[in-house]
C-alpha cells in the first residue's frame, strides 16, 4: 500500500481490505512471491511479506478510495468533535488520491456515489436492513469485479455482494447496543422493536447471515480452481472465520452487557 498510495494509507488497512486483496489475488490467479522483510510495524525483525502484484496495487487504490469517501461521509453527517477529527483525517486521506492512475477513477466515482446513497438511506431510517446492506454489497462486488474478464467478473461480483451484505448486517448486529444508546441509525432497530431485534440477533441472525455465506460459497466454487494459499484462506474465512468471529463478538457483547447490569 505504501508504494502505491503513500505510507499514510497503511494506517487505514483493515481486515475487510485484507480479505479483498486476497480475493483479488485469487481471482487474478496471481502467485506473488513471499519474502522476508522489515516493515514499519516490525522494523527490527524480518517478517514474511507478500511482494507487489497487480492485484495488491489495485486493492491499495480501492482501500484509499474507501477511506477517503468514508471520511467525507463522516464530515457530512458528524457533529462536534467527530466532525473535527474527520476534517483532520481528510487532510491525510487526500494524499493518496493524487497517486491513483486515471484508469481507476471510475471506481472512486462509484464508491463515492454508493457511499452517498448509503448515507441517505441511513438518514431516512430505512426499515429494510437488506436494502441498505444491498448498497454496500453492490459497492464491494463492483470493486472486486472491476476490469476482470466476464466470467471472473460475475463470480467476483456475486462473492463481493454477499460478503459485503454479510459485513454490513454483522456490523449492525454488533453495534446494536451502542447505536441504541447514541440514537444512531441501526437497521435492525428500525425494522423492529429493540427487544424483538435482540431476540432476532440471538436466534435468527445466524440463519440469515449463513444464507449470504452459502451464496458467497456458491460463487467461490465457480471461481478459479487455484489451490494456492489465497484460495485456502478465502475458503477458511468464508466457512469458519466470519461466522466464528461474529459469534464470539456477540457473546462478548452479551457478557459485557450482563456485567454492566450486575455492576
Amino acid at each position: 500500500m505504501g508504494k502505491h498510495t503513500t505510507e499514510v494509507s497503511c494506517a487505514s488497512l483493515s481486515f475487510d481490505m485484507t480479505f479483498f486483496a486476497l480475493t483479488r489475488i485469487w481471482l487474478c490467479e496471481e502467485r506473488p512471491q513471499i519474502k522476508s522483510r522489515r516493515c514499519h510495524s516490525h522494523p527490527l525483525k524480518k517478517r514474511p511479506m507478500m511482494c507487489d502484484s497487480g492485484a495488491l496495487e489495485f486493492s491499495a487504490y480501492v482501500s484509499a478510495y474507501m477511506t477517503y469517501y468514508k471520511i467525507l461521509d463522516d464530515i457530512r453527517d458528524g457533529r462536534g468533535l467527530k466532525r473535527l477529527l474527520a476534517r483532520a483525517a481528510l487532510i491525510f486521506a487526500k494524499i493518496p488520491m493524487s497517486k491513483i492512475p486515471e484508469k481507476y477513477r471510475a471506481i472512486g466515482q462509484y464508491i463515492g456515489e454508493k457511499t452517498t446513497y448509503l448515507s441517505e438511506l441511513e438518514k431516512q431510517k430505512c426499515e429494510f436492513p437488506s436494502e441498505v446492506a444491498d448498497v454496500f454489497g453492490d459497492l464491494l462486488g463492483y470493486a472486486l469485479a472491476f476490469d476482470l474478464d466476464e466470467k471472473k467478473a460475475a463470480v467476483a461480483y456475486e462473492l463481493g455482494k454477499h460478503v459485503g451484505r454479510w459485513v454490513y448486517l454483522a456490523d449492525a448486529a454488533r453495534d446494536i447496543d451502542r447505536d441504541e444508546k447514541s440514537g444512531s441509525y441501526n437497521p435492525f432497530l428500525c425494522a423492529m422493536a429493540p427487544g424483538e431485534a435482540r431476540d432476532f440477533i440471538a436466534n435468527g441472525l445466524d440463519g440469515v447471515l449463513s444464507m449470504e455465506l452459502v451464496e458467497a460459497m456458491k460463487a467461490y466454487d465457480l471461481g478459479p480452481t487455484d489451490t494456492g494459499e489465497c484460495a485456502g484462506c478465502i475458503k477458511n474465512i468464508l466457512t469458519k472465520g466470519m461466522r466464528n468471529t461474529l459469534a464470539s463478538e456477540l457473546t462478548k457483547n452479551k457478557r459485557e452487557k450482563k456485567n454492566e447490569r450486575s455492576v
Binding site: 437488506s130 435468527g204 460459497m217 484462506c233 469458519k240 466464528n244
Partner: protein, 193 residues
Amino acid sequence: MKDPYEVLGVSRDATEEEVKKAYRELAKKYHPDNYANSSLSDLASEKMKEINEAYDAILKNMHSGGNSQNSSYGDYSSTDFIEIRNLINEHNFYEADLRLNSIPSDRRNAEWHYLKGCVFMGRGWYFEASKFFARACDMDPGNEEYRRAYENINRSSDNFGNGGECTCCDVCQGLICADCCCELCGGDLIRCC
C-alpha cells in the same frame, strides 16, 4: 382446465393433509429452480402453474364445503394467490410484490405473509423473508409449507458445521489462518510461526 384431482394424483375423497402432501411432492419435483438455465424451464413453469391451480381449486372446494372454516385460506385468497404464486414461480418478483401490496391489510392472512416472504427470498432479502415466514408460521402453525420455508433459512447455518460453537481445533485453525493473512500483508499475529 384439467381435473385438479388428476393433476395432483389424489382421489376425490383425499384428506386435506393428503392433498398438501401430494402438492408438496409435485412442487418440489417441478419447481422452476430445478430447471433454471435448462431448455425445459418453460415447460416446467407451465406444469408448476397447472399444479398450483389444481391445488388451490381443491382446497377452495374443500373449504367451501365447510371442512375447515378456521383455516387461514380466506375467500379472497384463491384466484389472487394462485396468480401471485405463478408470478413468483416465473421469478417476476416485482409484479408479485405489487399484487401483494394491493391486497388490503385486513385481508393479509398467513398465505399472504408466506408469499411476501417468497418475494423477499427471491430478491435475496433474507432478513425480510425470514420475518414474513415467521409471521406466516405464527398465523398458521400447522402449515407445513410455511414452516419448511422458515426452517430453510434457519437451517442454512448447517452448511457450516457447528455454527457459533467454537472447538479448540477451530480456534487454532482460525488463529493460523488469521496469522497467514496478516503475514501476507506484512504484519504478524503469532510471533513464533
